[in-house]
Symmetry: C2
Subunit: 252 residues, 2 copies
DNA sequence: AGCAAAATGATCGAGATAGTACATTTGGCC
DNA sequence: GGCCAAATGTACTATCTCGATCATTTTGCT
């Protein structure tokens, strides 16, 4: 099986064998990079659909323009392929996030956009969400081994930290905000909205995933996050010095 | 392999072979119910740990006081066992929830307790959470087939609906609150907190899962939910009639 | 052109795994 | 006690699945 030169630079990964790509056919040649990318994109889809144990190397191979031989040649074994696929999925998603530049916006506006963006972005990348779900099932053992992924996420936090700091300085956000905790809140809503859609729909119907209801949920999410970040409208009676959280009666 | 009479009524599922149970040994006998329960509890643990494809029937069998033969005898095949295990996991968790009686409390207090309870309860039942995660990976195909589970969840919503209605009537909650949407918000935080702990910890460290930080997150969650339910302190400029949500600028 | 290393093709094997066949024991009932 | 159906034990197999082996082609380089 052969590849067009620079096939890897094509964006339409899912095309059929023999489809035009818009790239000139200037002879055919070995193309290791394209082979790897081809394998990875198929692997992401397959692992995301069926999980680590559920995915079949043979199935991945057959959906590839290359052979199983190549999978083992480049990735060693199934777990190696999985790990690289996980990294690739992260990379692709973080790329999308990198385009978001919020530095010129006022902090509240920046945070609003960040939350809304994350919500939408997760929704547009279900395979990524599923990869993370699967990784959680496996106790993040493979992710823990990937320095690449940790670095990328720390970068994401930096962005949020910057917003928090600016907000504090301008006096619109409360002091001592923990960017990681805020990220947790943002992720919880955005992630759950995709990850648990199947069971939620099965039980309560698809209503919450229609356009109107999703719009509503997204807005609620944005507002909740902003409320957490904002200086409390009502002065808290006690402030927990350790975590910067308002301490109020929360039952039990 | 033989069973004590009424062994199924014992609460300590995880005990070793031959351990005392507090139940008098009054002879040994066939005990189909105990066998089924034994298999199910092992199955939940195994499926929760390794997923549907990752779980091994032989492993389940070996951790059971009975044999693989019995698994197929009572549950037909692996998928049958999985489905029953899923139901059993739901049942166990909903049982815990049923004990919660909130009808005598004022709506805000009831909602506060419900949220806090859900947060804690999910945390105490990671196997259940993992089963749901796995079911989501499989697009809820098996859950969809289980009427039992749908019924139980509808019951849970009823509880929330009652609180919402009372809150509306007493004028402390906004009108047109959607109990399912509220349930979504509660679940998102409570579920994510358990489901994504491994990846989150791997990336950002375990800090957020220490007692102090968890306390803080739980409180933030409670407050966010209450804020959503409460009548807005600031009158909304526009109200979306379809969903009952405030419409404000939420960015793109 | 010729050579060595990288890349790829075709086929096969070992072990794991779900599920089964057959035999045996137990327990309620007469 | 004897009988039959439910329950359980033992051993086996067909198949699926990962991974390896051996052979061949392509390519960069001199």
């Amino acid at each position: 099986m052969y590849y067009l030169d620079h096939f890897a630079s094509g964006t339409d990964i899912g095309m059929e064998n023999g489809m035009k790509t818009g790239i000139e056919r200037r002879g055919w040649t070995q193309n290791p990079e394209a082979v790897k990318q081809d394998i990875l994109s198929v692997a992401i889809s397959e692992f995301a659909s069926n999980g680590l144990s559920g995915a079949r190397v043979d199935t991945i191979a057959s959906r590839t323009r290359t052979s199983k031989r190549m999978i083992y040649y480049y990735f060693g074994d199934k777990l190696g392929l999985y790990t690289r696929a996980l990294e690739a999925a992260y990379l692709k998603v973080r790329e999308g996030e990198a385009a978001l530049n919020l530095d010129h916006l006022p902090p509240e506006e920046a945070l609003t956009r960040l939350v809304a963006f994350t919500f939408d972005h997760h929704k547009k990348n279900p395979d990524f969400i599923r990869m993370v779900m699967i990784e959680n099932i496996h106790n993040a053992e493979n992710l823990a081994a990937s320095q690449v992924i940790r670095d990328m996420n720390m970068a994401a936090i930096e962005k949020l930290a910057t917003i928090c700091r600016r907000g504090e300085e301008e006096g619109v956000f409360r002091k001592g905000l923990d960017p990681v905790a805020l990220h947790w809140q943002i992720s919880a809503a955005s992630f759950f909205n995709v990850s648990n859609r199947p069971t939620f729909s099965a039980i309560f119907g698809a209503g919450l995933f229609g356009d109107d209801a999703q719009e509503c949920i997204r807005r609620q999410t944005v507002e909740s996050i902003l409320a957490i970040a904002a200086k409390s409208r009502v002065e808290p009676k006690i402030t927990d010095r350790r975590s910067g959280c308002d301490v109020a009666d929360a039952g039990d």
